[in-house]
């Protein structure tokens, strides 16, 4: 009895002892394999973009209508996609809202784009004003899926309602092979079906047999009706098509799950559609000089991108060779690579740039950090983007403005990584990768402005990769360069890993990389870093162009039309493009108006070149830095 009591009386001590032992074992175990804890991605509020500076082209967006549109992918109003299209194809534009649209803006403009956010609910007063401008031939109106009075007066009847189309079935005046490629492309377009076409209308583009872009003459001018959801088409092409609730179907999504075009897609569908709309339709109906989207007369650009998390400062070795070939590139490096301020100094000396290779949480590449109390750290959480940006700044000495999610992974949320990067001041993202095959899986090689689920723009542009590291399939780089130089005129972003030679120096692979420089030179493509190309595009957007149509005087020796273009060029490597034909007149010569010889003002003839721009015939003329006044002469047939 005593014995049993005695034993029981020590039970609490025994329990406590073994509890402590088991606790110690558990803590040691957890210290070695801590429990993972999830963290949230940061987010940024999208912005309502406006740009008041008058220019030839005005795009009108009703941000409130955008916000109020249904919160599904197909229901959301993506009128903001027009901003990217116009900036890419024209350069400087005016972004107005129905309330900021003033007579001054309209007086300066030649084209007004009424996006679906406006065209579906435009105040009668504005309709009347615009009609007057159009009747006088002062303004070309482009209306996307108009409703109400606009549709009644200028659009087809729209009685069939919203339809989804899979093919562009017809296109007017588009050169081969672009035309064939466009008609062959598989697309997903929502359009407004009508029982009959609009009377007197000229159809430019049809989807599944239904006219989706047509123009209607009005007085001295025209109105162009875009009767398909241009915004949704562009956003889904470029930024990817999620499910209706903006989620991705895959539970472990990669960036290829965002792509709507197949692996190895050789044809930039989105760019072709927008170029046709701007230069093939609008540019044919009204004179519309624009800025060429590449610097120094090049036919395209190669953006050279290197990613590294192994070599640290050694990751800059490719930039050394590029510098010797007068090229620059962007090196994205992770915070665990060992890259530091010394490496940045070298990269900077080589005119290169560095950015962050983001080891995103919930991916295999995530960097885990344990936490707890003192030496006992039983929990682990992934390093957040904020801490990676902060560490990058600490190590390298600068804040990253370019980034890529490592490992081609994405979240189930369509836009969350972009929103997170945008919130951390990152302005350029390279995460959109075509997977194992090169090609334009996102319909473009150009950087595009990312939109939020709300349809509003984020402060970040995405530069999709066209040639991924170790691309096993798809068009070869020489093929891409050849078609880009001849027709497509693209930004070809080529990704490579400096560490891919680390296991052993693979000479054939190196040779093919070195040959790229010769190929680029042969095909007149500049190899540049993403930042320097982005800087070029920013200057291009900040420049200005104003156009007036004159009739030529007899002493000019040419009878026909004269286009007087006043340009402020922010850089010395910009070029102006304009159509080869205007209202049935053919281009004959270009003169610059203010060449000073002695004390006299004279005009000098400028050299121009003809370009096949995605099946459209354009002319290019080089601009000087600063103000240029050009007279472009078009002869009657």
């Amino acid at each position: 009895m005593n014995f049993r009591r005695s034993k029981n009386s020590h039970l609490p001590w025994r329990t406590a002892l073994w509890f402590v032992v088991i606790l110690a074992i558990v803590l040691v175990f957890l210290n070695r394999t801590p429990l993972a804890v999830d963290v949230e991605l940061p987010a940024e509020e999208p912005v309502e973009l406006t740009r008041d500076t008058p220019s030839d082209v005005v795009v009108v967006i009703d941000w409130q209508a955008v916000r109020n549109s249904p919160a599904t992918f197909s229901g959301r109003d993506f009128s903001a996609a027009w901003i990217n299209t116009l900036e890419q194809e024209i350069g400087p534009i005016t972004i107005a809202t129905p309330t900021t649209l003033t007579a001054r803006v309209l007086d300066e403009a030649r084209v007004i784009i009424l996006t679906s956010s406006v065209a579906q609910n435009i105040p009668d007063g504005i309709t009347k004003t615009l009609r007057d401008y159009a009747l006088a031939g002062k303004l070309l109106i482009v209306a996307e899926r108009p409703a109400g009075e606009l549709r009644e007066k200028f659009g087809a009847n729209g009685r069939v309602g919203l339809q989804r189309g899979r093919k562009f079935s017809w296109v007017r005046d588009l050169g081969e092979p672009t035309r064939a490629n466009l008609l062959d492309a598989d697309v997903d377009v929502e359009f407004v079906g009508s029982t009959t076409p609009k009377e007197n209308a000229t159809t430019w583009l049809s989807v599944d047999g239904a006219p989706v872009v047509y123009s209607v003459p009005i007085g001295e001018g025209s109105i162009v009706v875009v009767d398909f959801d241009f915004g949704e088409f562009m956003v889904s092409s470029q930024q990817g098509r999620p499910r209706e609730d903006f989620s991705l179907a895959s539970t472990t999504p990669s960036t290829t799950d965002l792509a709507v075009y197949g692996p190895g897609n050789r044809f930039p569908v989105a760019d072709t559609v927008e170029r046709y709309l701007i230069h093939g339709v609008i540019g044919r109906l009204t004179p519309l000089p624009t800025f060429w989207p590449f610097p120094s007369g090049s036919e395209g650009v190669i953006v050279s991108l290197h990613t590294d998390r192994v070599l640290g400062n050694g990751g800059a070795w490719m930039l050394r060779y590029e510098a010797s070939r007068e090229a620059t590139s962007t090196l994205l490096t992770s915070i665990d690579s060992g890259f530091d301020a010394q490496g940045y100094e070298l990269v900077n000396k080589l005119s290169g740039e560095v950015g962050l290779l983001w080891l995103m949480q919930n991916s295999d590449d995530a960097l885990m950090e344990s936490f707890g109390l003192g030496p006992i750290r039983p929990f682990a959480r992934p390093r957040t983007l904020e801490s990676q940006v902060s560490d990058f700044e600490k190590n390298v000495g600068i804040k990253p403005i370019a980034a890529q999610v490592a490992g081609n992974v994405w979240t189930t949320d369509w836009v969350a990584p972009l929103r997170a990067m945008s919130s951390q001041g990152i302005r350029l993202d390279f995460s959109y990768s075509p997977g194992g095959a090169s090609g334009y899986r996102f319909g473009t090689g150009f950087p595009f402005l990312a939109l939020d689920e709300s349809g509003l723009p984020l402060s970040i542009r995405v530069l999709p990769i066209v040639v991924p590291q170790d691309a096993g399939e798809g068009p070869t780089t020489p093929e891409l360069l050849t078609t880009s130089a001849a027709v497509d005129h693209q930004v070809i972003t080529i990704a490579s890993r400096p560490a891919s030679f680390a296991d052993f120096p693979d000479i054939p692979k190196f040779e093919s990389w070195v040959e790229l420089f010769d190929q680029a030179s042969t095909q007149k493509h500049r190899i540049m870093s993403a930042g320097s190309f982005d800087s070029f595009l920013r200057s291009r957007r900040a420049s200005s162009v104003h156009t007036r149509v004159l009739t030529s005087s007899s002493d000019e020796g040419v009878s026909g039309l004269v286009l007087r273009v006043t340009v402020e060029s922010k850089r010395g490597d910009l070029e102006l493009t304009f159509p080869n034909e205007l209202r049935g007149h053919t281009f004959s010569k270009a003169r610059q108006k203010v060449n000073r010889v002695g004390d006299e003002l004279v005009s000098g003839e400028l050299e121009t070149s003809q370009t096949n721009y995605s099946g459209l015939s354009l002319r290019r003329v080089k601009l000087d830095s600063g103000f240029n006044t050009l007279d472009l002469y078009f002869e009657a047939p």
């Binding site: 005695s6 034993k7 020590h10 001590w13 025994r14 002892l17 073994w18 032992v21 192994v310 070599l311 050694g314 990751g315 070795w317 490719m318 050394r320 060779y321 010797s324 400096p498 560490a499 030679f501 680390a502 296991d503 052993f504 120096p505 693979d506 000479i507 190196f510 040779e511 070195v514």
Partner: protein
């Protein structure tokens, strides 16, 4: 007692014991998890005198007995520095001990070389015999002679010796252009014996002034000529090649940490070493001998190649990557040397290496950039002791995987980690049966070129001045220091006159730890550049075989001054070279046999005709060296007689003078 029995501790005694056992087990696990490292030592051997050769136009007299172990460089006997020079420049030459000197052994020689230590210890009879040899028309090189040589040497030696600093004048040597500046820049080592002032040759006796006094003088003795060197050429060449004790390096044995071999160089700190000073110095002296009488020699490379280029690849982390580089060389129609580690190299790798003609060497791991080669001792997962494998075991592990026909002979020390003394590492390598080491060279991108005054292999000397039975083959650029521009500049310099073996070292993992575009460009262009500049793209093994065959070959000559006829008798041995075979005849391996070189000009007149075994050889088929000093005749292996006629000078020709 009963209170104790009821206490908590007593009641929990078994629990506490179990906890204690758990703690002890955990402690033992933590303690045994990291094995205890036991470092290995490696055997050493001393240098030895190479076997004497009786045949050759040039006789090198060597000391009868090795000197005492030197405790500093000034005490080192550099007689075998001359051995290195003659081996490099002539290939075929005779050697004899001083005690064997006799009129018989001097008969038929053109030149006798008396190194400093031999000169100091030469008996009177020897001095007399050499004096008689000179009077009969022979040439003698006397290095730092003492008073015993008064009757033979250019002048008496009075005053106090001092340390040789710079070459101050080479008016008497009669060289021009870049070579003039290059020779003047040669760094000298050792003492300079005093000498009376002399005007430059031909007005006076001085060929070369050092520190504003004659450093090399020439005097006519009877019908012959005596070259007196007041500086120590043997030690100057040895110091350039093998390095020089500095603050970072001690001469005797020491336990100081290893240093990178590049720190041994005796040349001043700079990044570019484009001139092989050691070779220039020995050539300046030896080529002067052909002014009196044309002296033929075995060319330094097979056929009429201007030089050699060897691509080497240490593979510290993976044999596969090293072999992939060798395969790339194979596909370029060349071969490369890959240095493998004992713990990674397998017989499968050896079979692949054999199939691509790769030359396999040993990478002696020193634990610098990778972990040591270890063998753990223990049971199952518990391996508490880790023994480092010594060099001999590492050698055996690699050698055993190789086919018998291609035994392991060449080596590289990982990261060129060298014992911080005069010769320990050489002695260890030699003791492990290695015959060629290629660890001397620049460190990465810090510098490039001939840090050790030569691109040609040399025999390192031990503290007694005796050569070790292996050669050191320096490399000229390494890793990120390599670039096609630098390589081409070195190949061009070599083709135009330096005639060097240019060894490039590119580690198979270089693109991980020190990546640079120049590395890949060099790998891409090296063999094309070698071909462009007429260099033999070979491997260290092939080069070693070739040099051994060249040394075994015999070349002697007779000169008829009246008929201006040089009769050369050679017995040439060749060795198989995949590279030569691939270029000449892909179907059949061909011997790599040294060409026969003879002076292009004698007494200002060019060669008139050449016959090989009584068959005329068109002069246009005979190559000229880049420096235009020699013509090189391609001769197949075997015994041959070559007769070279020089044109006769015009009647008012100048006097023959050295």
């Amino acid at each position: 007692m009963s209170r104790n029995r009821t206490s908590v501790i007593y009641a929990l005694r078994w629990d506490l014991t179990a906890v204690l056992v758990l703690i002890m087990l955990a402690g033992a696990y933590w303690w045994l998890k990291e094995p205890t490292l036991r470092l290995a030592g490696s055997d050493t051997i001393s240098g030895s005198r190479p076997p004497d050769r009786a045949e050759g136009d040039i006789l090198l007299l060597l000391p009868d007995s090795p000197s005492a172990t030197a405790s500093n460089f000034d005490e080192l006997d550099c007689s075998y520095g001359w051995f290195n020079s003659l081996w490099q420049e002539y290939g075929s030459f005779a050697t004899a001990l001083t005690r064997d000197l006799s009129p018989e052994i001097l008969a038929g020689r053109s030149v006798v070389i008396v190194p400093s230590r031999v000169a100091r210890n030469m008996p009177t009879a020897g001095v007399r015999a050499i004096g008689d040899f000179a009077k009969r028309g022979g040439q003698v090189i006397l290095e730092q002679p003492n008073d015993a040589w008064l009757a033979v040497a250019a002048s008496t030696l009075t005053g106090k010796p001092r340390r040789a600093q710079h070459i101050t004048s080479i008016e008497g040597l009669g060289v021009h252009g870049d070579l003039r500046e290059q020779i003047a820049g040669i760094p000298l080592t050792g003492v300079l014996m005093p000498a009376p002032a002399a005007a430059p040759f031909p007005e006076g006796a001085s060929i070369m002034d050092i520190d504003d006094q004659p450093g090399w003088a020439v005097t006519q003795v009877g019908e012959g000529w005596v070259h007196t060197l007041y500086f120590n050429l043997g030690c100057s060449v040895t110091a350039l090649q093998q390095g020089l004790p500095t603050r970072d390096m001690v001469f005797g044995k020491d336990d100081k940490p290893e240093i990178h071999a590049s720190l041994r160089r005796s040349q001043p700190d700079t990044t570019e070493f484009p001139v092989p000073y050691a070779d220039l110095l020995e050539r300046a002296v030896l080529q002067r001998l052909s002014v009196v009488r044309p002296i033929p020699r075995l060319w330094l490379y097979p056929g009429n190649y201007a030089g050699a280029m060897v691509m080497t690849h240490p593979a510290p982390d993976a044999s596969r990557s090293g072999l992939a580089l060798a395969d790339a060389a194979h596909r370029a129609g060349a071969s490369a040397t890959v240095f493998m580690t004992a713990d990674l190299f397998t017989s499968k790798d050896a079979t692949f290496a054999e199939s691509i003609g790769a030359d396999v060497g040993l990478l002696w791991v020193r634990g610098k950039r990778r972990e040591l080669v270890l063998e753990t001792v223990g049971i199952g997962p518990l391996q508490p002791i880790a023994n480092e494998l010594d060099l001999n075991t590492q050698f055996t592990r690699v050698n055993i995987a190789l086919p018998e026909a291609r035994p392991l002979r060449v080596a590289r020390v990982e990261e060129s980690a060298w014992a911080n003394d005069w010769s320990t590492t050489f002695q260890q390598l030699a003791a492990a049966r290695l015959r060629l080491d290629s660890s001397f060279g620049p460190k990465g991108g810090t510098s490039w070129g001939y840090l050790f005054g030569t691109g040609f292999p040399f025999y390192p000397l031990d503290e007694r001045g005796l050569p070790l039975p292996l050669v050191e083959q320096p490399y000229v650029m390494e890793g990120s220091g390599a670039s096609p521009q630098r390589l081409e500049s070195m190949l061009r310099g070599s083709a135009q006159g330096f005639h060097q073996s240019i060894v490039v070292s590119i580690s198979s993992d270089i693109m991980r730890y020190d990546p640079a575009p120049g590395v890949l460009l060099t790998l891409r262009d090296a063999f094309t550049l070698a071909k462009k500049h007429n260099h033999w793209a070979t491997s260290l093994g092939e080069l070693l075989d070739f040099l051994a065959a060249r040394r075994k070959s015999v070349l002697t000559s007779q000169w008829s001054a009246e008929e201006r006829r040089l009769t050369i008798t050679v017995n040439l041995l060749g060795t198989q070279s995949d590279r030569v075979a691939a270029e000449e005849n892909p179907e059949k391996p061909k011997d790599a046999t040294a060409g026969v070189a003879f002076p292009r000009v004698f007494d200002g007149e060019e060669v008139e005709s050449v016959t090989l075994d009584q068959q005329d050889v068109p002069l246009k088929e005979i190559a000229t060296t880049g420096s235009s000093t020699d013509r090189i005749l391609i001769v197949p292996p075997g015994r041959h007689t070559i007769v070279v006629h020089y044109k006769s000078p015009a009647p008012a020709a100048a006097l023959i003078a050295p």
